[in-house]
């Protein structure tokens, strides 16, 4: 049964992808219906899979020499992330029915969405490092294809290739880790690496650990690879919600969480993870303070929140990070989709042109506020519990300076969240935008996600029990939701954090005039260039292209020079042979 369900959560979306590829763009109704049907079926299969979770390998197919076995392990970590991918995936598809109405090339759009959902499930369920990398790359391909979906727009094309190249460069880290594991242990199995990590030579284990950290940072858009995510916002908004907020960008956090027990013994690894999380959380929160593009502001906030999760892993808060991952997936998908409704209605992403939209779109305003409060970390929404848990773990186990940094980040989060909400939905209308309310499919998705934002924290108890039962290498202790609530409300750190959040909100309220003005401040340049890292990306690209141009001169087209090339190569080979002899 478990094997069948795993087959279904990967197979249903992939079958749907193949079928949708063959559908004609002349029949959009059929395409919408098929996509919704396939994604919802996958969503139900993924929910059913939760009840069959175990630490056992359920599918084991030999792939021949050097390729190991294709295995799937439906443990708590895997099934919960599969459920997030498939359920939020189906909500994003439902949302797309309204959002993508009338768009051309829907078959390409839905094909890649469904291909992505299946690949994401495969990535987290895979028990083999080779196939984890296999699915990892497929998610990158889907992400590329969907960022560049509007491919007549040069910005979308550039954003797509940037995301692809940066995540692929990072992916080399995962490749190296998988290959070292195979060379040292003779298997690609995840469980073997977790079990035998202690017996491996320390330098090899360190290479794997840091290789995976690079891969994770690139995939989760963490420092210093954080530059691709804001540019990925050229994708259609349901894609931003699904891939670039709720699922694919979590893959990096997943990777770190999955192998935490193996890598924690590597000297300096945990501290590096903490620093990556801290720096990412802070610089992108800073960039969100002055952002003017609604989707980019949300993207900065995504990187920042992912930073919280990475930080949590660095300080040993495995459960806290996964709990926040769940909360964030739900409330950030809600925020993105709500933003999508606004963008769809107004036709612009520039927050400076919005304002006062709350009156025309009350439903969207209400759910956006709900999501914003969760992002800011106010009780009793899901973001509050998970963020408090992270900060608490950080204070207890991590360095104090990092904790203070994260606390500051929480204040900035409150500031930019309120600013965003204010600019879009409140105040005076800055431009007379022709606005229509969200459609019924949009409202369905938003409503369900809003309900999730209010309630997913109640799952904390079952979540921890699931982890305890099915993750033999992670020492997780079951903690009921009630105990968690008691714990959080009984410690002073919670009140400190809440005070910082309120301070952030209060500061915004006092400076709201200046903070919503159109004039550029000197911080904007820092933000626009991602603290110089965008400049660095451009430099690397331009050096490569300049080098390529120079090399083109070697193709002279003159036969004499060509023969000179042959002779000089002969000379070089001879010199090498003499030298080595």
């Amino acid at each position: 049964m478990t094997a069948i369900l795993i087959g279904l959560v990967i197979g249903i979306p992939w079958l749907g992808a193949i079928i949708l590829w063959r559908t004609s763009d002349e029949k959009p109704r059929l395409q919408h219906t098929l996509a919704v049907a396939f994604s919802i079926a996958a969503g139900f299969a993924s929910l059913a899979l939760i009840f069959f979770s175990s630490a056992e390998t359920v599918i084991d197919i030999r792939m021949g020499a050097f390729f190991g076995s294709l295995t799937f392990i439906p443990d708590g970590l895997a099934v919960s992330l599969t459920a997030i991918a498939c359920v939020i995936g189906s909500l994003a598809v439902v949302f797309s029915v309204d959002y993508m109405k009338g768009e051309a090339q829907l078959s390409r759009y839905y094909t890649f969405v469904l291909l992505f959902i299946g690949a994401m499930a495969g990535l987290v369920l895979s028990g083999s490092l080779l196939f984890m990398f296999f699915f990892w790359e497929i998610t990158a391909l889907c992400s590329y294809a969907l960022i560049s979906f509007y491919n007549d727009d040069p910005k979308a094309v550039a954003g797509g290739i940037k995301a692809l190249i940066i995540t692929q460069v990072g992916g080399v880290g995962l490749l190296v880790g998988a290959l070292i594991t195979y060379a040292a242990l003779g298997t690609y199995q995840v469980s073997a690496l977790l079990e035998k990590a202690g017996t491996m030579p320390a330098n090899l284990l360190a290479l794997i650990a840091f290789g995976f950290l690079i891969a994770a940072a690139a995939k989760s858009a963490q420092f210093p690879f954080h530059t691709w995510l804001p540019d990925a916002m050229e994708a259609p908004t349901p894609i931003s919600a699904l891939i670039h907020a709720a699922t694919m960008v979590n893959a990096g956090v997943y990777l770190l969480a999955r192998f935490y027990p193996a890598f924690v013994q590597v000297p300096g690894w945990a501290l590096s993870v903490t620093i990556v999380g801290l720096v990412s959380a802070l610089i992108t929160a800073f960039m969100a303070l002055t952002a003017t593009d609604l989707k980019r502001a949300l993207a900065y906030s995504t990187v920042s929140q992912l930073g919280y999760m990475v930080y949590a892993i660095g300080v040993g808060g495995f459960f806290a990070s996964q709990f926040h991952l769940l909360s964030h997936a739900v409330f950030k998908a809600l925020l993105f989709l709500a933003a999508g409704s606004v963008i769809h209605a107004t036709g612009t992403r520039d927050m400076r042109r919005m304002g006062g939209l709350g009156k025309q779109m009350p439903f969207v305003r209400n759910v956006f506020i709900l999501g914003a409060l969760a992002l800011a970390g106010l009780p009793i929404l899901n973001g509050f519990w998970s963020k408090e848990l992270i900060l608490e773990t950080g204070l207890a186990n991590g360095p104090l300076w990092a904790y203070i940094g994260m606390l500051l980040g929480a204040g900035m989060t409150a500031f930019y969240t309120l600013r965003m909400t204010w600019l879009v939905f409140f105040g005076e209308a800055r431009e007379a935008l022709r606005v229509h309310d969200a459609g019924s499919a949009m409202k369905t998705s938003l409503g369900l996600l809003a309900a999730g934002t209010l309630t997913t924290w109640l799952l904390a108890g079952s979540f921890s029990r699931l982890f305890q039962e099915t993750l033999p290498f992670h020492s997780i202790h079951e903690l009921s939701t009630l105990d968690l609530a008691k714990e959080i409300f009984s410690i002073p750190a919670t009140y400190v954090a809440l005070m910082v959040v309120c301070l952030g909100l209060g500061v915004f309220w006092m400076v709201r005039k200046q903070a919503t003005e159109e004039k550029e401040t000197r911080f904007d340049i820092l933000s626009r260039e991602s603290f110089g890292f965008d400049w660095l990306n451009r430099q690397i690209t331009s050096v490569i292209f300049r080098f390529a141009s120079t090399l083109q001169k070697t193709q002279t087209g003159k036969l004499n020079w060509n023969v000179v090339g042959i002779l000089s190569a002969l000379l070089m080979v001879l010199i090498f042979l003499l030298w080595s002899a």
């Binding site: 699915f135 290959l179 490569i544 087209g557 080979v573 042979l577 002899a581």
Partner: protein
């Protein structure tokens, strides 16, 4: 085994070659006989299909026997081992689809019958090259193959660019051939024999470093290296591969340079005592080829030239696998190189054929003679969904994305590097992986261009792709996906080839 069937794999296409030519020439001046084109095409296809029979039989014989098969005509020794079968498989595989594809592509060209005759001859000669076991005859097969390919490169004899490409190819290959011949002479002088197995015994018995043999090895490496397109011997390749008819571009990129590589391995294996030096040189050339090929392709806007440069980088991956195998004796390296050689045949063959199909319907049918550039393909997927999908899959597979064939063979090569436990080799693998990422920088934008919403004028006015061109595209596309999902599917071919490589180098 008394009955040796394998010489028939060489004899059938070689024998069919003059037959096809003669049939094509009969009554060529009588316009009422213009149906002969179908006869020529049909005969060529039949010959290719018939050649599969001896191939399958000799493979099963080889598998049953577990050792190489040999046969002697007078004093000419032929031998079939894993490497010969690999070369025969890629030649027959791509040859068959290219003959089918060329039907509409070459229809009505002046000298159509010569095209098929030379193509069949080339197929037979390459298979023969893979089976030769005598150093001089080996060179003869190699030269004959080269001659057949010169004529095919310069097929459009009225176009200056095509002639220029042909001349460059001819002169540079000739320089290489002279080196090979000198190498053969040196080996013969030092060992007194031309039989490869005997040379191996003789050179292994030599105690001191024989400088003549070292020189011979250098000649082999550079001489064959011209055909393999090692950088900086590659300068003929972008012209030749882009000017030839598309079916021939596919053959040149997917089979002929690989035949050069197999020939180089065979020749160097006779000097197997120095295998570590050869391995190191292959690694060096491999690294240069990967980076150089990618950087040159990065700024290329002509599709066929871009694919030609990408062949340089893919040769680099094969060299990496072989270099790892020769320096550290890893089977994964040799087998991975063989696997990549096979996959490159499919991927690059498909890429050239798909580009050829676009050239055919967008330009040639309109009587336009110019290279196809990337911008021409804007929105092509809306009008030609199959060809666009085929080209996209070929390019993404070349870029090493799963679930496609190229990912799996690159992975196998990478495994070898890490299994060797050598830091330098691991570093080279990381370099190769980064090169794969770099290559996406030029593959991905083409795929993007194909799926644009806005259709280019050229595509708007394009004609319909004939069925005979679609079938090869479908077959190759399907193989790429199937092999990508099931990598051990080809190990019946790649494993013996890998073992043969290690065996002939005495690893």
């Amino acid at each position: 085994m008394n009955l040796t069937i394998f010489p028939l794999m060489i004899a059938v296409p070689l024998g069919a070659s003059p037959l096809v030519y003669l049939v094509g020439r009969i009554g060529w001046h009588r316009p009422e006989l213009n149906g002969r084109s179908y006869l020529v095409r049909g005969l060529a296809l039949l010959a290719m299909l018939l050649s599969w029979i001896p191939f399958v039989l000799s493979w099963s014989q080889f598998a049953a026997q577990g050792a190489s098969l040999s046969s002697t005509f007078e004093s000419i020794g032929l031998q079939v081992d894993g490497l010969s079968l690999l070369l025969a498989a890629i030649t027959l595989g791509l040859g068959t689809v290219v003959v089918l594809f060329s039907g509409p592509y070459m229809a009505g060209e002046v000298g159509e019958e010569k095209y098929y005759a030379m193509l069949l001859a080339m197929v037979g000669l390459i298979i023969g090259l893979g089976c030769a076991n005598d150093l001089f005859n080996f060179w003869m097969w190699f030269e004959a193959m080269a001659v057949s390919s010169y004529l095919l490169v310069a097929f459009y004899r009225e176009q200056p660019a095509s002639l220029e490409a042909g001349i460059k190819y001819l002169v540079q290959s000739a320089v290489g051939s002279v080196f090979v011949l000198l190498g053969v002479a040196l080996v013969f002088g030092a060992t007194g024999t031309l039989d490869m197995d005997k040379i191996r015994l003789a050179t292994n018995a030599l105690t001191s470093n024989h400088s003549g043999l070292v020189l011979a090895g250098a000649f082999f490496m550079i001489g064959f290296g011209v055909k393999v397109a090692l950088v900086p011997l590659h300068t003929w390749l972008p012209d030749a591969h882009s000017q030839a008819p598309s079916g021939i571009s596919a053959m040149l990129s997917g089979v002929v340079i690989e035949a050069g590589l197999v020939a180089m391995l065979r020749a160097l294996s006779t000097l197997g005592v120095l295998s570590v030096s050869w391995g190191t040189l292959l690694l060096g050339f491999g690294a240069v080829n990967m980076l150089f090929g990618n950087l040159m392709a990065l700024k290329q806007v002509q599709l066929k030239r871009m694919l030609a440069y990408s062949s340089l980088s893919h040769i680099g991956y094969m060299l990496l696998g072989l270099g790892i195998a020769l320096t550290s004796g890893q089977l994964a390296g040799a087998q991975g190189a063989a696997f990549h050689l096979f996959n490159h045949m499919i991927m690059k063959g498909l890429a050239f054929l798909a580009v050829g199909a676009f050239m055919f319907v967008l330009l040639m049918k309109k009587g336009i003679h110019r290279p196809l550039v990337v911008d021409d393909l804007a929105g092509a997927a809306r009008k030609y969904p199959l060809a666009a999908l085929a080209l996209s899959i070929a390019l993404l597979a070349l870029g090493g994305l799963p679930p496609l064939a190229g990912f799996m063979s690159k992975w196998q090569i990478f495994v070898a590097g890490f299994q060797s436990g050598n830091g330098w080799l691991m570093g080279l693998v990381v370099f190769a992986a980064l090169n794969s990422v770099l290559s996406l920088g030029y593959y991905a934008p083409i795929v993007n261009m194909l799926y644009r919403q806005k259709i280019s004028d050229v595509v708007q006015q394009g004609e319909v792709i004939p069925l005979a061109m679609k079938i090869p595209l479908m077959l190759l596309t399907l193989s790429i996906v199937v092999i990508g999902l099931w990598p051990s599917l080809m190990s019946w071919l790649t494993e013996p080839a890998g073992q043969t490589i290690l065996f002939i180098f005495g690893k």
